[in-house]
């Protein structure tokens, strides 16, 4: 869990992440949704102790498994990443060393986590997630396997070492839609079996819909809306979340009609980060940064949307 996290990169006017608090109980999945520049990757890196040396991090609390990590040194973070924090990256091919066989790399990861003896279990698990004949195929080099296959291995290894926290950064955006849904199904299933907390990062709300219990929407480094998955996807309040949901082509939508799209806009120096692109913007939005307030079933940082929702209901 983390409270009031702010990360600033040198030379940047706005913090990349500003005042973000989150808590994931083990057995639950939180999805962080946002577009490029929203700060979602910086947030994930901060939670894994992988921030660039130059970045300035401030937080009032940072704990994993009850351990206070505010003052943890790099060495402690390295240990944690071997045993307590697993990371699944966006690009399956770049997460593996191209010159070594898969089996050698998997063995290294397992023994670094202190689970060297559980290779047979891992092979079983791989078989179950649709990686047929794992013993033979793992003798291959990474480029001889497809992206979906590599991602299956990454997930299996990440889960079997029983971490406290599993961070998946865009785990499927490099894959095709049918493979994507297979991988998401596997992630959801393995997560529910293992009692770990999962943080999944994505720019794609449809990914979120499949695996997350809770959803947090980031814009310009700030949380603009958060809540239970069904609430955020079903009755989003914040205009940015609404815009994201409305702008996606869907099978139950009219064809060949313009999609409601949000105009691009810059990040302002003060006030609500979304104000320049917002339909509901009022003068107050440009002055002060709105706080998260409960509206309907979610928390949204948008007073105008909140008041209009309250009037409507």
């Amino acid at each position: 869990m983390v409270e009031d996290l702010t990360v600033t990169y040198p030379g940047a006017g706005r913090p990349a992440v500003k005042g973000v608090s989150l808590e994931i109980e083990s057995g639950r999945t939180l999805a962080v949704v946002g577009e490029s520049g929203s700060g979602k990757t910086t947030l994930a890196l901060a939670l894994a102790g992988l921030l660039d040396r130059r970045a300035r991090r401030r937080a009032s609390r940072l704990e994993i498994n009850g351990e206070n990590l505010l003052a943890a040194r790099r060495r402690r973070w390295r240990q944690l990443r071997r045993t307590d924090i697993s990371f699944i990256f966006q690009s399956p091919i770049n997460s593996w060393n191209p010159t070594r066989t898969m089996i050698a790399q998997v063995r290294d990861a397992m023994s670094a986590a202190g689970h060297a003896g559980r290779m047979p279990e891992l092979l079983d698990l791989l078989g179950r997630v649709g990686f047929e004949d794992p013993e033979r195929r793992l003798a291959d080099l990474p480029h001889q396997l497809s992206g979906g296959m590599l991602q299956r291995v990454s997930i299996a290894v990440a889960v079997i070492i029983e971490p406290a926290l599993l961070i998946a950064d865009e785990p499927t955006s490099a894959l095709d839609s049918t493979v994507q849904s297979e991988i998401l199904a596997i992630l959801a299933e393995l997560r529910s079996e293992a009692d770990l907390a999962m943080l999944i990062i994505s720019h794609d709300l449809s990914v979120v819909a499949r695996v997350a219990d809770d959803v947090m929407v980031l814009y310009g480094g700030k949380v603009v809306e958060q809540g239970a998955q069904a609430a955020v996807l079903g009755s989003a309040v914040h205009p940015y979340t609404r815009g994201l949901l409305d702008s996606v082509p869907r099978l139950d939508r009219d064809r060949k009609t313009p999609l409601p799209s949000m105009e691009p806009g810059h990040l302002p120096a003060a006030g609500c980060p979304f104000a320049p692109r917002c339909r509901l913007v009022v003068d107050d939005c440009r002055r002060a940064e709105p706080e998260l307030i409960p509206v309907d079933a979610t928390l949204a940082a948008c007073p105008p949307a909140a008041s209009s929702t309250l009037i409507a209901t």
């Binding site: 577009e35 819909a209 702008s247 082509p249 869907r250 099978l251 060949k256």
Partner: protein, 330 residues
């Protein structure tokens, strides 16, 4: 009809682009890979045809073949009734002006050392359209057409956002008023909110210029949104083809049904895709058998043909084309 189109589409020819029995095999380290197998399809004048399939289905190879970046091993690819190979040998300039493309990676498709204005003017310079003054005027027009701020004209690509870079690519493609625009995954590298803007722009272009498009994507909802007709590709060949709404609302091939269920999740309808191994594509019979929930014995030995089941709606499936079997499977 916009002026300046090099090939005024002949009234007698109904199809703009026609592929018949196209084959393409690549030789790789792990032996030959048959990327496209006996692929046939048609794009009519002013029609948007969506080509949907997963990576390795051969859909991007189709784009490369049409653009003359690869050459087919067998079969014919005809544009306005004439082989693409012949076009490129004899009248390459005219073919290039008539067939343009927008690619997946907006930044990589732009020369990083050239400014936006130069890049948009490039096709005009290549095909010697106008003088430098009229070209500058045309660049302004084109940038306005794709809703790019004119002040971006002196920027380098790395100073643009992904959406702006893709608009520059589209402006370049439009500069020559092509009759056919090949779009190979034009939005899959973009943020969700930017995707909608680019899709809207493509819709607008199709409507205002009656420009035909071959729209290639792995996403069925995206393809459905834009296309008059959809062709579903699996393992190098078309498995289902029909009007845009029909294919997605009443899918007949089990692979299309899988695509539909994978795409329906946001709306709450959780499909259960089968987690099987991608590489296991058989070399005889129907290529989809290992992942198919309704396969019968015949499927493993004999490959079905693409049969028309309803008006303009065809499917390559033994079960779908047999009413009795279909009823049995449900």
């Amino acid at each position: 009809m916009p002026s300046g189109r090099v090939l005024d589409v002949d009234r007698d020819v109904t199809s703009l682009l026609e592929l018949t029995g196209v084959d393409k095999t690549f030789v790789t380290d792990r032996g030959p890979v048959r990327a496209v197998r006996r692929m046939s399809m048609v794009v009519g004048k002013g029609e948007v045809v969506g080509l949907v399939g997963e990576s390795g289905s051969g859909k991007s190879t189709i784009a490369n073949l049409v653009l003359g970046l690869e050459h087919a091993d067998a079969g014919r690819i005809r544009f306005l009734g004439r082989d693409v190979g012949e076009w490129l040998d004899k009248e390459e300039a005219r073919y290039r002006q008539a067939v343009q493309a927008v690619f997946q990676h907006p930044f990589q498709a732009l020369d990083s050392r050239k400014r936006v204005g130069w890049l948009v003017a490039e096709p005009l310079v290549i095909h010697r359209r106008g003088n430098s003054k009229s070209r500058a005027e045309r660049v302004r027009e084109l940038m306005a057409d794709v809703h790019l701020d004119p002040s971006l004209v002196d920027r380098y690509p790395h100073q643009l956002s992904g959406g702006q870079a893709q608009r520059v690519n589209i402006a370049r493609a439009l500069a020559l008023e092509p009759s056919l625009l090949v779009c190979d995954e034009p939005v899959s590298a973009l943020d969700v909110s930017v995707q909608a803007q680019i899709l809207n722009l493509l819709l607008e272009i199709n409507r205002e210029r009656s420009m035909a498009m071959l729209f290639i994507s792995h996403s069925l909802p995206v393809v459905r949104h834009l296309s008059d007709r959809i062709v579903v590709m699996y393992a190098g060949t078309a498995v289902e083809e029909g009007p845009g709404g029909e294919v997605s609302d009443r899918p007949t091939h089990p692979y299309t049904q899988l695509l539909v269920s994978a795409a329906s999740v946001v709306t709450g309808d959780h499909g259960q895709p089968r987690g099987t191994m991608r590489e296991a594509i058989p070399s005889v019979g129907c290529r989809f058998v290992p992942r198919c929930p309704v396969a019968i014995d015949r499927c493993s030995s004999e490959e079905p043909s693409l049969d028309e089941l309803a008006e303009g709606h065809s499917s390559r499936c033994w079960v779908a084309s047999d009413p009795a079997l279909r009823a049995e499977v449900g």
